[in-house]
């Protein structure tokens, strides 16, 4: 078995992105059922969203700066160059949207949602936006990964012909 640093960084990046997105779903459900009893749990979940997305940012940034250039070159030479030109380019900038919303979520969640309908709507809206953009980025990441995979597979197939 040969697991490299770049493998660990990439998978940890995706993992924290998924945990952050799922925590946003958790916040959404807690806000739907906002009571005094679950207020502390909701705030904890909002902090987990922010922490996961910040860690995903740092890990993703490390991979993007140090390891991704080789993948990029491979993808651009392969049959799916749009995996980089469209999906990776969108993903790397769309992430900041999710990051800012994730940093804002704990601030919005500090209010008493069970007494304040506006604050509750705000948390529901932000949690939903984080969830949708988070899932979109997971999908984009899968397309980027597939772009590199088929570049290798089809390149390898051509070489063996």
């Amino acid at each position: 078995m040969n697991i490299t640093t770049s493998d660990v960084v990439l998978l940890a990046h995706a993992g924290f992105g998924v945990f952050g997105t799922l925590a946003a779903v958790w916040v959404f459900v807690e806000a739907l059922n906002a009571h005094a009893e679950n207020a502390k749990r909701l705030r904890t979940a909002a902090l987990i969203v922010a922490a996961c997305m910040v860690i995903a940012w740092i890990l993703g940034g490390d991979f993007y700066l140090h390891f991704y250039p080789a993948d990029k070159a491979l993808i651009l030479r392969g049959p799916w160059p749009f995996a980089h030109n469209l999906f990776m380019e969108t993903k790397e900038h769309l992430f900041f949207l999710t990051l800012v919303l994730s940093l804002y979520l704990p601030i919005a969640a500090r209010e008493k949602l069970y007494e304040n309908a506006s604050a509750r709507r705000m948390v529901l809206c932000v949690a939903m936006l984080i969830t949708l953009s988070g899932f979109a980025m997971e999908g984009f990441g899968a397309i980027v990964n597939h772009g590199a995979k088929i570049a290798l597979l089809r390149g390898g197939a051509k070489a063996s012909e």
Partner: protein, 107 residues
């Protein structure tokens, strides 16, 4: 949800940072498009931290924090209905997200 829910206003911090988030999200999309079309901007951003993407991330998070603190000092958010602030944030996020995808798809 408890029965005594009312249509209270957002706290000043929540409203201020919501507007700061909306502005930061739009600036992020504009900056992504601008550095693609104007290479000197991308080069300058890269010279600050070693990579334009790193600079953009730090700038957007910094803008969010600074704008939030600045808006919080004013009473501006008290004049804006909460639903409008929610709509502005949601509208900014949806427009910026679709805008980014459309930019890389068509330009």
């Amino acid at each position: 949800m408890d029965a005594n829910v009312n249509n209270s206003k957002l706290s000043r911090a929540s409203a201020s940072f919501a507007l700061a988030a909306a502005i930061s999200i739009v600036v992020n999309t504009v900056l992504a498009c601008a550095k693609d079309t104007y290479q000197p901007l991308k080069t300058w951003m890269a010279s600050l931290t070693g990579h334009d993407w790193t600079t953009q991330g730090l700038a957007i998070v910094g803008l969010f924090v600074v704008l939030g603190l600045v808006i919080r000092k004013t009473s501006f958010t008290e004049t804006v209905p909460p639903n409008r602030i929610i709509s502005v944030l949601a509208g900014a996020a949806i427009t910026a997200g679709i805008g980014l995808f459309a930019w890389y798809a068509f330009f």
